[in-house]
């Protein structure tokens, strides 16, 4: 390179100050910069930046990214009929109607008791209108999926909740039973389990030779209590424990309980991850109000167990609907929501305060940086 420069100089001595010469100097300058030692601070910063970029790229796979983009163009499931309640939208509407005739959209959402909502549904499903007095009642829960960690949401789950007043739901439920004794296994199959497994199959499940995806729930006799422990990671929410009632002595009773239970699935919204939806059938219109109310209470208690109550209400709005039907009434679920203890609330608040302090520091720094720049610009 240098020889080239010399050549140009020798051929036309006066052009030394021309841009060609300047170019060469620039290259040398950049090379020198490469050799320059960087401080530990700078190194760390660079690494952080690089890692951040990589993490953002790795968060979703290629197909997932494409799916997310596609979903963003569609309406999110939470926004589809009957939509999601946003309290800010109706903040300047009056609270309660004063007239005996009122239009729904002119007031804030009116919450009804379960009995009132059911009566309104029964009127609509009466023989002279829809004639479906035994319609299944659907409970649609709009959920808030945020957790203590800002980047983590409540994970979706699939479970069966045993309800105090079982009803005919016309759905097929496949239940897997674990029992050591062959007689017990036979008993389990007789009483309605899809399949009964012993010790030997557990290894197969772990290896992946036996798929458990198709089973809605698992029950286990207590003699298998310790040997099914390795399956916890595979079965996840379907894993039988004493807490969810899947582990016990009396297999036929357990199976019966879960066969008649309510299937509760919590799904995160693919477009807005902080929202979630849960749809389940909680009873039939012909059942007495108290029974349906008891069922709803158990389902809501089971759903609310998925999130720390101190974070605020898990349920944004609960709608009572029928299948089929578009009619929906918001019900008041406050009495059934779990009450957080003071300790839990304190914990959450401490966390928040810490975050706030951090943010404040950050903003101060940025403003300090910004002011000299502004001054220079002016």
């Amino acid at each position: 390179m240098l020889s080239l420069v010399r050549q140009t100089i020798s051929t036309s001595g006066s052009t030394m100050l021309r841009p060609v010469a300047a170019d060469v100097v620039q290259v040398r300058g950049r090379k020198r910069a490469l050799k320059q030692t960087i401080t530990r601070q700078q190194k760390l910063e660079r690494r952080m930046k690089r890692e951040e970029k990589e993490a953002a790229r790795k968060q979703y796979s290629f197909m997932e990214r494409i799916n997310i983009r596609r979903m963003k163009n569609l309406l999110s499931p939470s926004q589809q009929y009957p939509g999601r309640l946003n309290i800010d939208d109706e903040s300047n509407l009056p609270e309660k109607p004063t007239l005996d005739v009122f239009i729904k959209s002119h007031f804030k959402t009116q919450y009804y008791t379960v009995a009132e909502a059911l009566d309104m549904h029964r009127e609509l499903q009466s023989p002279s209108i829809y004639n479906n007095p035994n319609a299944p009642i659907r409970l649609r829960l709009e959920l808030n999926m945020t957790t203590e960690k800002q980047t983590k949401m409540v994970t979706g789950s699939d479970e069966i909740v045993p309800v105090p007043f079982p009803f005919n739901h016309n759905e097929k439920r496949t239940i897997l039973a674990f029992a050591n004794d062959v007689k017990l296994q036979e008993l389990a199959v007789e009483s309605g389990a899809e399949m009964a497994l012993g010790q030997d199959t557990i290894k197969k499940i772990i290896k992946g030779q036996f798929r458990t995806d198709d089973y809605d729930f698992c029950v286990s006799h207590s003699d298998m209590g310790s040997s099914i422990l390795p399956l916890r990671g595979i079965l996840k929410t379907r894993f039988p424990t004493r807490a969810n009632g899947g582990l016990g002595e009396n297999l036929p009773e357990l199976i019966e309980k879960f066969k008649n239970g309510v299937k509760l699935n919590i799904n995160g919204d693919p477009v807005y991850p902080i929202w979630g939806l849960s749809d389940c059938v909680v009873g039939r219109l012909s059942m007495p109000n108290e029974q349906i109310e008891a069922n709803i209470a158990t389902v809501i208690a089971a759903a609310c167990a998925h999130r720390n109550p101190a974070l605020g209400p898990f349920i944004n709005r609960a709608l009572l609907m029928t299948i089929p039907g578009e009619e929906n009434y918001a019900i008041d679920v406050k009495p059934w929501l779990p009450v957080p203890t003071e300790e839990e609330i304190e914990k959450i608040e401490k966390r928040k305060n810490k975050k706030k302090k951090k943010d404040e520091k950050k903003t101060e720094e940025t403003t300090d940086d910004a002011t000299p720049a502004m001054a220079a610009a002016l």
Binding site: L99, D100, V101, I103, M120, N131
Partner: protein, 276 residues
């Protein structure tokens, strides 16, 4: 084209005329009180004593609502000669310019109060429909309510059926506010599918709103659905075909229209045929 707000801001920048502002400031560091007998220090000697923080900027506070006297009935705001406080922008851009209102100056307050006492009889005799009733009535009149009835079972259109159909349209009513014609409509009868009929809703026992219902046969079975025209505003000819007269809401000052009031007969004679 710049948005109006930008233009406004630009104009303010260009305006070289000085403007007056009131800033309320507070010292960041309070100087110590001079001990009795001591010599007071010059507060400007120490830099920290020259630091101030802003408590408030008077010009940035909104001035709040303004009091005006209405010269005529204005919907949603008030009646004639009422002294009301309204939003400043609304007053300046609409009420004051169009002479619907004047500033509540001491002179005008007295002047219009006198006028109000002079016109008391006339004002009392005037029929004024409360605003909230008017709003409900207007929205109700826009609707044609599909009255849902079963395809297979025997039915007669009664208040219960109408009530649940109204609820599906988002209108929540008490059962005793619905008034149907004496001659019942019953079925299933596919000849009258999509037929319009008149019924009345009485709001607060004071305001009778004529409504239109449309017979709509429904079934839970999705394969058995009727698709009838859902024209929201039927034309006059269509109304005439079903021998329905075009009517507008009727208001009564007292709560006359109780549950057993013959609303249909009353409306036949007294219903206004022009909008009020």
């Amino acid at each position: 084209m710049l948005p109006a707000t930008h233009l406004h801001r630009l104009a303010r920048h260009l305006n070289l005329q000085s403007s007056r502002n009131t800033w309320v400031l507070r010292r960041v560091f309070q100087p110590e009180a001079t001990p009795p007998g001591g010599i007071q220090k010059n507060p400007n000697d120490f830099h920290d004593y020259q630091k101030y923080e802003v408590v408030e900027v008077e010009t940035q506070k909104s001035a709040g609502p303004i009091k005006v006297i209405l010269l005529q009935d204005v919907e949603g705001i008030g009646h004639q000669f009422d002294v009301v406080s309204v939003d400043r922008t609304l007053a300046r851009k609409d009420l004051l310019l169009s002479k619907k209102a004047v500033y509540a100056s001491p002179f005008d307050l007295k002047y219009y109060a006198d006028m109000k006492t002079r016109m008391a009889d006339e004002l009392a005799s005037r029929v004024r429909i409360p605003y909230e009733l008017k709003v409900v009535g207007r929205d109700l009149q826009k609707m044609v309510v599909p009255i849902k009835v079963n395809m297979e079972n025997e039915w007669t259109i009664d208040t219960k059926v109408v009530k649940s159909s109204l609820r599906q349209m988002g209108v929540f009513v008490a059962e005793n506010t619905i008034f149907l014609a004496a001659k019942p409509i019953s079925g299933p009868n596919f000849d009258i599918e999509a037929k319009l009929f008149r019924f009345y809703l009485v709001v607060n026992q004071q305001y009778t709103v004529p409504m239109l219902g449309r017979v709509t046969h429904v079934s839970v079975d999705e394969s058995k659905q009727m698709i009838s025209p859902t024209l929201t505003t039927p034309r006059d000819e269509e109304l005439a075909r079903y021998s329905i007269r075009k009517e507008f809401p009727l208001y009564s000052k007292t709560k006359d229209f109780t549950e057993d009031f013959p609303v249909f007969e009353h409306m036949k004679e007294h219903a206004p045929t022009t909008p009020q």
